[in-house]
């Protein structure tokens, strides 16, 4: 077995090494279909979107090159601005709640108990529902005439007008629904991470006189960091790209970055160029967030073991 630590050869040496070897040829053929699909249906359209965003026009006719003008218009567009603000608020609020509450739940149920399987199943249910179905269900409960939550909120004097017509209340509703759907999932993820921490580490710390909070901060958090970072990045990017929830729960009245793009490129064709710019904007900002996690926060992306 000498293929493991072969020194790298410069120039055209690798081509023969890779494709001359039958095992490697097979490997490349095996990944080829997926690789092609991903390039053709994901990467190429994004490149196309970038190109489109630099031109004016309509969905059917591409206009002339306008440089970054679409981006300038986009930043000045009030719908885009509210979409940006709503998306940021939503992301920060929901991810924070989901992380904190999810962690609390994970810590609380980190032990074996009877009925654990049933609990896991029950809390997976919100996660398994399509977001639009959850949004539809909760919208029924928030609805002014038939909604139980609406009734209770009115009775307690918390609100005085229909919840579904108020932007602020809609945002709160979205955060609640997202937290309902995702907190159990976060808890399960964090719980799995917690279970990889051996009990004797805590024992030793307890013997040394560390209290619960110290044990949490000095032992749990650092050891949980890799799991937490992965979970956090996924949640942040999911929240940042929110569409289904805002569109359905908000009755198409609540703006997010993604709803702005959808409106602009599919519904009202007048803002098509700005919509394309916004699409690219979301892509690039998501990329930057991911890079931040990988470079700055040191999230593990290793694919070897």
């Amino acid at each position: 077995m000498t293929t493991a630590a072969k020194p790298r050869r410069r120039g055209g040496g690798w081509l023969k090494e890779e494709f001359g070897n039958p095992e490697r040829r097979t490997a490349y053929l095996m990944v080829l279909p997926v690789f092609v699909i991903v390039l053709a249906v994901a990467f190429y359209p994004v490149a196309d979107a970038i190109w489109l965003s630099l031109h004016g026009g309509t969905p059917t006719i591409t206009g002339s090159f306008v440089g970054v003008q679409n981006y300038v218009n986009m930043f000045q567009n009030s719908d885009f601005q509210s979409g940006l603000v709503n998306t940021i608020i939503f992301t920060v609020a929901s991810v924070t709640i989901e992380l904190v509450v999810g962690m609390a739940i994970a810590l609380a149920i980190n032990r074996s108990f009877r009925g654990r399987g049933l609990v896991r199943a029950a809390v997976l249910i919100p996660w398994a529902f399509p977001t639009v179905i959850s949004a539809t269900m909760w919208r029924l409960m928030f609805q002014d005439q038939v909604g139980v939550i609406s009734y209770v909120a009115h009775a307690l004097g918390l609100v005085s007008h229909p919840i579904l017509s108020d932007q602020t209340l809609l945002m709160i509703a979205c955060v609640i629904v997202d937290a309902w759907k995702t907190t159990p999932f976060m808890a399960l993820l964090l719980l799995a991470g917690l279970q990889t921490i051996p009990g004797d580490v805590y024992e030793a710390a307890r013997v040394d006189g560390a209290n619960a909070i110290q044990r949490f901060i000095r032992i749990t958090l650092p050891l949980l960091k890799p799991t937490m970072l992965v979970a956090l990045l996924f949640r942040i990017l999911d929240a940042y790209r929110v569409f289904d929830l805002f569109w359905v729960l908000g009755g198409q009245q609540l703006e997010s970055l993604s709803t702005f793009v959808y409106q602009s490129v599919r519904v009202s064709q007048l803002q098509f160029p700005e919509g394309n710019a916004a699409a690219v904007f979301i892509f690039i900002s998501a990329l930057l967030i991911a890079l931040f996690f990988i470079r700055v926060l040191g999230m593990q992306t290793s694919t070897e073991e």
Partner: protein
């Protein structure tokens, strides 16, 4: 200890309460739906909402469409994804991490970023308002999950399996077909469940590419479930419950698999 079980019960209740409440909404009369204060336990039940939805041709078509789109997406993802995942997990080749990074990176793409270009391309080749538009788009976003899961799974298999097959004279592909594939069943099964759940829940691509009752899945149809003049709340509630029942059953039966699949990548990753 009592406190612990109380807490757990609360956690479970909060998770399933909305489903139970909406189910109640689907079986009570219209009058009771609009009752103020709302009733806690159903008082005047009726099967009329359920009758309404199953008599609604568009809803039945939507169910069929969802099954077809999610089903084919799952099969395509599993077929190509498991082959690719195997190569990444078990074979040696130079650009392995690049390929894997490309595939997994798609999970971070904003879906809205590609709907305009894809719409144009699909229009040009006449795929708009066909299942394939949704299937192709759903596939590319489900592949990262499928591949990620199966790579983690294949890595867990004993290391000398291929070696033993090679000693018996098998090529790489033969080793894959005869030794690995039979052992891959549990991992592929878990991947199938998770991929199906994700594909079933797609909304944006279906909304963008599919326009008629003959192609639209339930995710598009249910939020707009209209009665004669306005939203028929009872029927909408019934429709929502119908769609989630198979998912609930799936989750109840396969909860252990689902959790281990989801956490395998994140924790061991």
């Amino acid at each position: 200890m009592v406190l612990f079980y109380l807490f757990v019960t609360l956690f479970v209740l909060v998770s399933v309460a909305p489903l139970l409440w909406v189910f109640k909404m689907s079986i009570v009369t219209k009058t009771e739906l609009f009752a103020s204060p709302p009733t806690f336990l159903p008082q005047h039940t009726t099967g009329s909402h359920w009758h309404t939805i199953f008599a609604n041709r568009d809803f039945l078509l939507a169910l069929r469409n969802s099954v077809i789109i999610a089903g084919i997406t799952t099969i395509v993802c599993l077929f190509f994804g498991s082959i690719a995942a195997y190569a990444i997990a078990r074979l040696r080749f130079r650009f392995k991490s690049t390929v894997l990074t490309f595939i997994l990176a798609v999970a971070f793409f904003p879906q809205v970023a590609i709907i305009a270009p894809l719409f144009k391309q699909f229009s040009d080749i006449g795929l708009i308002n066909t299942y394939w538009a949704a299937i192709i788009a759903d596939t590319v976003f489900a592949l990262p999950l499928t591949v990620w899961l199966l790579v983690a799974f294949f890595k867990e298999l004993p290391k000398d399996l291929e070696e033993a097959a090679r000693v018996d004279g098998a090529t790489t592909l033969q080793a894959f077909r005869k030794v690995i594939v039979p052992l891959a069943a549990p991992g592929v099964f878990t991947a199938a469940i998770l991929t199906f759940i994700q594909a079933w829940g797609d909304y944006l691509f279906a909304l963008t590419f599919l326009f008629t009752a003959s192609t639209q899945p339930v995710t598009v149809v249910i939020p707009n479930f209209a009665g004669i003049h306005t939203i028929d709340y009872g029927a909408q509630a019934a429709a929502a419950v119908v769609v989630t029942v198979p998912l609930v059953i799936l989750v109840l039966i396969f909860q252990r698999r689902i959790v281990s699949g989801l956490t395998a990548g994140a924790v061991k990753g």
